[in-house]
C-alpha cells in the first residue's frame, strides 16, 4: 500500500511537471460531453440503475456541471474509477473532474496537484454495534473486536482512535463492504466501523436494522468533494460554483419545480443574479447566463438531490445532520453570489 501511494504520488507529480493543462472548459465544450470520474459503485453516491443510467449523490454533481455547461444534465460520460485509478485518471486528462467520495486532505491537495472545489458531503467515521451490548458510547469499546475494511484510511483512523483513548481492540479485517457486513452479522466482531454514510447504507440491509445502533462518536473528518487538476482555474471555478449554485438554491428556496415561477416573480437581487435575470455572471465563467437556472431546473437544489439519493426516504436513510444548511444547524455554507 505504501509503495503504491509513493508510486502514485511520483507519477502524478511527473504528470504535472510534464504538461500544463489549460482550457478544460473549451475541451469539454468542443467534445460535447463532460467526462466525470465516479466510483465503481457506492450505494447512494454512484451506481447505475436498472436502466443503466448512473444515479447518485456524487453523480448529481457531475450532472450539475454538465447542466451548467451544456444546459443538459445527460451530456456526461461516467468513468468508473477505483481507489487506485482515480488520481492517475484525473492527472492524465482521461477525466475532466472527479466526483467520487474523495476525502479532501493536505497531501491530495498539495502533493498530488489537485484542486478540491468544495465539499458536497461532510462524512466521518463512526461505529455501529448491536443494541444488546448495551453500549452508549464508542469510549466503552475497550477490548472489543472491530470489523473494518483493509487498506483504507478507515483502518488507520480506527487505530488512532483506540491509541488516543488508551484502549485495546482486535481488528477483524475484510476487503469489501459486503464481506464486512456479513462478518459483523455473523457475530465475528462486536462493532463495525466505516464512514457513517456507509454505516447507514449497510444498516439498511441488515435483517433487523432496529437491533443495531450507530454510536454518536465521529472519530474522523471526511470532507468529500469534487476535484479537478491544479492550474486550470477557470474550470475549477465552473465546478466549484456549480456545486455552490445547488447550495445557494436551497438557501433561497429555489427548487426544480418552482424555479420558473421564481425567475419571473422574484425581487431578491441575489436570486436575480443567480438566475441570469440581472448581470452577466454566467458569461464571466465562460458559460451562458442561464447556467445556474439550468442546474436548478434540471438537477435541482442540494436538498433535492440529497433527498433523492441518500435522504431519509431512501434505502440509505441518512439524516441531514451536519450536512444541513448553516441556517438549520448544519455546516453547509456557500459564499454569496455577487
Amino acid at each position: 500500500m505504501k509503495f503504491t501511494g509513493t508510486f502514485l504520488a511520483a507519477a502524478a507529480a511527473l504528470a504535472v511537471g510534464g504538461s500544463a493543462f489549460a482550457g478544460t472548459l473549451d475541451d469539454v465544450k468542443a467534445r460535447g460531453q463532460l467526462i466525470c470520474g465516479v466510483t465503481t459503485g457506492l450505494a447512494g453516491f454512484a451506481a447505475p440503475d436498472d436502466k443503466g443510467e448512473w444515479q447518485g449523490f456524487d453523480v448529481d454533481v457531475c450532472r450539475a456541471v454538465a447542466a451548467g455547461v451544456f444546459g443538459d444534465p445527460k451530456k456526461v460520460k461516467f468513468v468508473p474509477t477505483t481507489g487506485q485509478s482515480r488520481f492517475p485518471a484525473l492527472q492524465s486528462g482521461e477525466v475532466d473532474m472527479l466526483a467520487r467520495n474523495t476525502t479532501w486532505t493536505f497531501d491530495r491537495d498539495v502533493k498530488l496537484g489537485f484542486e478540491f472545489t468544495g465539499i458536497n458531503f461532510y462524512d466521518g467515521q463512526g461505529f455501529i454495534v448491536r443494541k444488546s451490548l448495551g453500549i452508549k458510547s464508542a469510549l466503552e469499546l475497550d477490548g472489543a473486536s472491530v470489523c473494518v475494511g483493509t487498506g483504507s484510511t478507515t483502518e488507520l483512523n480506527l487505530g488512532d482512535f483506540f491509541t488516543a483513548n488508551n484502549m485495546s481492540y482486535t481488528p477483524v479485517v475484510y476487503v469489501t463492504a459486503d464481506e464486512i457486513r456479513a462478518g459483523y452479522l455473523a457475530n465475528r466482531c462486536d462493532a463495525y466501523t466505516t464512514d457513517r454514510s456507509g454505516l447507514a447504507a449497510q444498516r439498511s440491509v441488515f435483517p433487523n436494522p432496529d437491533d443495531h445502533v450507530v454510536l454518536p462518536e465521529v472519530i474522523s473528518k471526511e470532507p468529500l468533494g469534487p476535484l479537478v487538476r491544479h492550474g486550470d482555474h477557470q474550470w475549477g471555478d465552473v465546478v466549484r460554483w456549480s456545486l455552490n449554485v445547488m447550495i445557494i438554491a436551497e438557501e433561497k428556496g429555489l427548487t426544480s419545480a418552482n424555479v420558473d415561477e421564481k425567475k419571473a416573480s422574484t425581487n431578491d437581487p441575489e436570486v436575480k443574479r443567480l438566475l441570469g435575470v440581472e448581470g452577466e455572471y454566467g458569461a464571466r465563467l465562460g458559460l451562458s447566463n442561464e447556467w445556474a437556472y439550468n442546474i436548478i431546473k434540471t438537477v435541482g437544489n442540494y436538498a433535492e438531490t440529497y433527498e433523492r439519493n441518500i435522504g431519509p426516504s431512501t434505502q440509505i436513510a441518512l439524516e441531514r445532520g451536519v450536512n444541513a444548511l448553516w441556517t438549520n444547524g448544519g455546516i453547509l455554507y456557500a459564499p454569496p453570489f455577487r
Partner: protein, 377 residues
C-alpha cells in the same frame, strides 16, 4: 403294501435337475454390494462416508432451499424478495446489463450478430468433413476480427458509433478473452521459435521479453498501462482504455503461450528436425509441416489451461475502469435498490464463468482424442 408308490422308471426317468443356484448374498450385489465394497469396506471408509453424508446433509438442503425453494423470481424490485431465499429478481432485472454493460439497447443486435456469426463459423470449423472448411476458418481468422470490430463500434453503414467505454458485461469479457487468446497464439509461437533460434539478437530479444513479462503480474501490466503510458503520450492524446487492456492482456498471455509452445518444441525428438533438414525443407517449411504440428499437439492441455486462465484473468480489467461481467455485478449491487444482493450476482457470474471454462476444457479433451495419432503407447 401295494406298489403304488413304485416309479415306472421307463416313463418317468429320473432326470437330474440341479436346483437353481442361489443368488449371491444380497449383501454383495446391487446397490448394497456396491456400497459395501466402495463406501463401507473398512472402519475408516465407513467413518469418512458417514462424515461425507453429514456434510452433504449440512450443505445441500439449505443451498437448495436458498437457490430454488425459497427463491424469488417474480416481480421487478427488492420488495418482491421476501421469501428469505435467493433474490433472482436482481439478476433478472439486471441481466441485460450483466450481458452487455452499457451498450445501448437499440444497438444490441450488433453484438448478438457478431457473437452469433463467430459461433456459427467456429462450430462449422470444429465439425469434421464439411465442405469449404478451410475458407470458413480463413474468414474466421482474417476477416472476422474486422467485421466484429466494425459491428461493435459502428460509425459505418449508418450504424451509430458506440464508444468502447460503453461495452461491458459478458460482452467485454468475451471480447478481451477472445482477442487475447487468438492474437497471443501466433505471437507466442513466434516468440517460442525465436527463443530457440540460432540468431543471438532474435534469441535475446525473445528471452528478454518473455522473462520480463512473466516476471510481473497481469495486474501490474494493466496498472502500468493506466499510470505510466499517459506520461509518454503527448498532451490531449488519450489511448482507448480497452485497447490498452487488449494489448496488455495479449502480450502477457503471449509470453506464457511462448513458454508452453517451447515445451512442446523440446519434446520433439531431435531426429524429426534432422529428418526435415535432410529432406531439404526450409526452416519455415520444416516448422510448419513437421515440427509444429507435433509440438502443438503435445501441448494442447497446457495451451487450453492458459486460455482458461486468461478468460478468468479478464476480471482484473476493473482496475482500469473497464466494466466486465464481474464489475457489472458489483456496480449493480451498489445501486440503492439492490444493496445486499451481491451474492446472487456472484453466483450468476460464477455460473457463466463455469460454463465457458468447462466448455473450453471439454473441447480440448475432444481435440486431444482426435489428434491422438500414436504418441501414446
Amino acid at each position: 403294501m401295494t406298489d403304488t408308490t413304485m416309479r415306472d422308471f421307463k416313463s418317468d426317468p429320473i432326470v437330474h435337475t440341479p436346483s437353481p443356484s442361489l443368488p449371491p448374498p444380497s449383501s454383495s450385489v446391487g446397490v448394497i454390494g456396491w456400497m459395501r465394497r466402495n463406501l463401507f469396506s473398512s472402519p475408516i471408509n465407513t467413518l469418512l462416508t458417514v462424515l461425507g453424508l453429514y456434510l452433504i446433509y449440512l450443505i445441500v438442503p439449505p443451498l437448495f432451499n436458498w437457490a430454488f425453494w425459497n427463491a424469488d423470481l417474480a416481480g421487478d424490485s427488492r420488495e418482491f424478495c421476501d421469501s428469505g431465499g435467493a433474490c433472482w429478481v436482481f439478476v433478472k432485472i439486471r441481466l441485460t446489463q450483466f450481458l452487455y454493460g452499457f451498450y445501448p439497447e437499440a444497438e444490441r443486435w450488433r453484438p448478438n450478430l457478431a457473437i452469433g456469426l463467430g459461433l456459427v463459423a467456429l462450430v462449422y470449423c470444429l465439425i469434421d468433413g464439411v465442405p469449404w472448411r478451410k475458407w470458413v476458418a480463413l474468414f474466421l481468422l482474417v476477416l472476422y476480427p474486422f467485421v466484429t470490430y466494425f459491428l461493435l463500434s459502428g460509425g459505418v453503414f449508418d450504424m451509430p458509433l458506440v464508444e468502447t467505454s460503453k461495452w461491458g458485461g459478458l460482452l467485454l469479457t468475451i471480447v478481451i478473452a477472445v482477442t487475447g487468446i487468438v492474437f497471443s497464439f501466433p505471437i507466442g509461437i513466434l516468440l517460442a521459435l525465436g527463443r530457440r533460434s540460432n540468431m543471438p539478437v532474435v534469441r535475446m530479444l525473445c528471452v528478454g521479453f518473455i522473462e520480463f513479462v512473466r516476471a510481473v503480474p497481469l495486474i501490474s501490466v494493466l496498472f502500468m498501462s493506466l499510470v505510466i503510458l499517459p506520461l509518454f503520450l503527448p498532451e490531449g492524446v488519450t489511448f482507448d482504455q480497452l485497447l490498452r487492456a487488449l494489448i496488455g492482456v495479449t502480450l502477457f498471455s503471449a509470453a506464457y503461450t511462448a513458454e508452453t509452445v517451447r515445451g512442446g518444441l523440446q519434446a520433439i525428438p531431435r531426429g524429426q528436425y534432422e529428418a526435415a533438414d535432410a529432406m531439404g525443407l526450409s526452416y519455415w517449411k520444416s516448422m510448419r509441416l513437421i515440427v509444429l504440428p507435433q509440438a502443438l499437439k503435445v501441448v494442447i492441455p497446457a495451451l487450453v489451461s492458459g486460455s482458461i486462465g486468461l478468460f478468468k484473468d479478464t476480471t482484473l480489467v476493473l482496475i482500469i475502469g473497464l466494466t466486465d461481467l464481474l464489475a457489472m455485478v458489483q456496480l449493480a449491487a451498489a445501486d440503492t435498490g439492490w444493496i445486499g444482493y451481491v451474492k446472487e450476482g456472484y453466483v450468476f457470474a460464477a455460473a457463466l464463468f463455469f460454463v465457458f471454462c468447462f466448455g473450453m476444457s471439454r473441447y480440448s479433451m475432444y481435440l486431444e482424442r482426435k489428434l491422438h495419432t500414436g504418441h501414446k503407447r
